[in-house]
Amino acid sequence: MTPVEQSTLAQVTQRGRIVTRASREGAERVVRGALFLCALFSVLTTIAIIAVLAKEALTFFTLPNHPEISVWQFVFGTEWTPLLGAKPGFGVLPLISGTFLVTGIAACVALPVGLITAIYLSEFAPQWLRTPLKAVLELLAGVPTVVYGFFALTFITPDILQRVSRWVTGEEVFGTYNALSAGIAVGIMILPIVCSLGEDALRAVPRALRDGSAALGGTKFDTSIRVVVPAALSGIVAAFLLAITRAVGETMIVALAAGSLPTLTANPAAQVQTMTGYMVQIFLGDAPAGGVEYQSAYAVAAMLFLLTLSLAWIGGMVLRRFREEYD
């Protein structure tokens, strides 16, 4: 006789409680319901975001003592002077141009460097170099953005930009606050995102494609650029878009380094204000709650939300539409 057969029902019940089927299924239903509520919370969050932003933005556009504010004038106006007192202007274009300028600089820094690093990590790097390199990128990804802001303000601007410009042109081109230093810092911030997501996309390309290219006499460079990168293009573009979404929503770097003067300009040496930068200025307490400046921050937030949402949406569409399936 085996030991299992020797144990009686009494011994089994001593070890574990016998649970009836009904109570087991009841507990199951309770747990399932609780977990469903957790999942529903994220939907509630989205509803709350949309409801709050819509309501407050609507309040801004229908303020009784500011009939001159309209959606048209807000979206296409070129004067953003909300704190001017007597005759404030609420045209959001300078803030959008500031956001795009900083994001554009960041993209110029992060996208090429990030893609090359991703290709290197996925296709070329030997194992002994991969591990420390990934550690460096993880560290860069973990640095809080306020630290990058401090770095832009106290190192990139005075020690690099001002020094180089003085050396090249002999005069002071960059002020304490400028779009270029903020853009570079934002670029450093999004670099790890481009690298790690890009590498994931490249690694997902099956080995057979690389082997085929190599068998046809392609060098490693040919294989990477003409076979692997095109095959992973949808993932790479999605990585780019996600990184750009992060750059658009980045707050602390631009609040510290870009300045607080809304300017409609493409000059990277100029002081600019981004949408997030304006929100920081308002919520830090420059404006009384409930006033027109305060409400305008909500309208800007709604604009920012729509912008990042459409970027995320485009990213998802690119992934779905242009994905190449290899099996």
Partner: protein, 316 residues
């Protein structure tokens, strides 16, 4: 050149292709070196700025208008309070959502919608979450006015609660929960997906219910990966300044938090405040505070790596 070339494509001499290969490798190394260089420049410049200000008194004194007397005691304790509360709130919620989506939900329209919704939430800028936190938690949608505020306990007791929450530790924790929730959910989902199906089937074949299978088999198998993801999410929460700034984290605080309703400040906000001032003295203490923040983050990430190495056993 009598090279035969297929009808499409340009003929490229092999030496040129090899040269391109070599040049690309150089570009790769340069790009890689750039990342290392930037990290070193960042660390060195902050060490140079902040090392001299970093001493015991700096850790153990409160904010001050004079940089040489200012310290980060309130910010350090505030950060720890907020992050601990945020962890307690976000982790069950995040893992619960992941469990529902991975283990219970059928492939329905609703499930797809929730999944898409989570992906979209992870792209929302953190300052927007700050605005939601300000409206929903600080002011409770304006449902309760200042006159009929409701509370339990006195302001000194450790269980003191009031409605609306006001700019308090709990508000900050709830807001940061919104920020990190998508990260926790996605990380947990990936961890659950990596658990081999055969483990679940074995448990189900023994007569266990779905929840028993999850609690005794799937979750233990996925827990090291979930834990790593959670720690990384929390280390993101500890570095966030923008949402805290919006919900009204105070700047001059002269006590450490005593309960969930205490006024508070956090390290990133303190760093932002000092870094934004023109005087060099404040820049120096901002750098010193950054050093403390980075040490805190290193402890977090080091723990994540240690857990990954210690607990991760291959399951296949």
């Amino acid at each position: 050149m009598n090279q035969r070339v297929p009808s499409k494509g340009t003929p490229i001499a092999s030496w040129r292709r090899l040269a391109a290969n070599r040049m690309f490798l150089v570009a790769c190394l340069a790009a890689t070196l750039l990342a290392v260089l930037v990290l070193s420049a960042l660390l060195i410049s902050i060490l140079v700025d902040g090392w001299s200000s970093l001493h015991w008194d700096f850790l153990n004194s409160f904010a001050s208008r004079k940089p040489e007397k200012a310290g980060i005691k309130a910010a350090l304790f505030g950060s720890l309070w907020v992050v601990a509360t945020c962890t307690v709130l976000a982790v069950p919620m995040g893992i619960g959502t992941a469990l529902y989506l991975e283990e219970f939900a059928k492939k329905s329209r609703l499930t797809r919608f929730i999944q898409l919704n989570i992906t979209n939430l992870s792209g929302v800028p953190s300052i927007v979450y700050g605005i939601i936190g300000l409206t929903a938690f600080t002011r409770l949608f304006g449902m309760i006015g200042a006159n009929d505020a409701w509370s339990i306990g006195s302001e000194e007791s450790f269980f003191y609660l009031r409605l609306p929450f006001g700019p308090s530790v709990l508000t900050a924790a709830l807001t940061l929960m919104l920020v990190v929730l998508p990260v926790v959910i996605v990380a947990s989902q990936e961890a659950l997906r990596a658990v081999p199906k055969s483990l679940r089937e074995g448990s189900l074949a023994m007569g266990a219910t779905t929840w028993q299978t999850i609690w005794r088999t799937t979750l233990p198998a996925a827990s090291p990966t979930i834990l790593t993801g959670v720690i990384l999410a929390i280390s993101r929460a500890i570095g966030e300044a923008a949402p805290i700034l919006v919900i009204g984290g105070a700047l001059l605080i002269f006590q450490t938090p005593t309960n969930l309703m205490s006024d508070f400040t956090v390290l990133p906000l303190q760093i932002f405040n000092w870094a934004g001032r023109p005087q060099a003295g404040f820049h120096s203490i901002a750098a010193a505070a950054i050093l403390v923040q980075l040490v805190l983050l290193l402890i977090f990430n080091g723990t994540a790596v240690a857990i990954r190495l210690r607990l991760q056993k291959p399951l296949q």
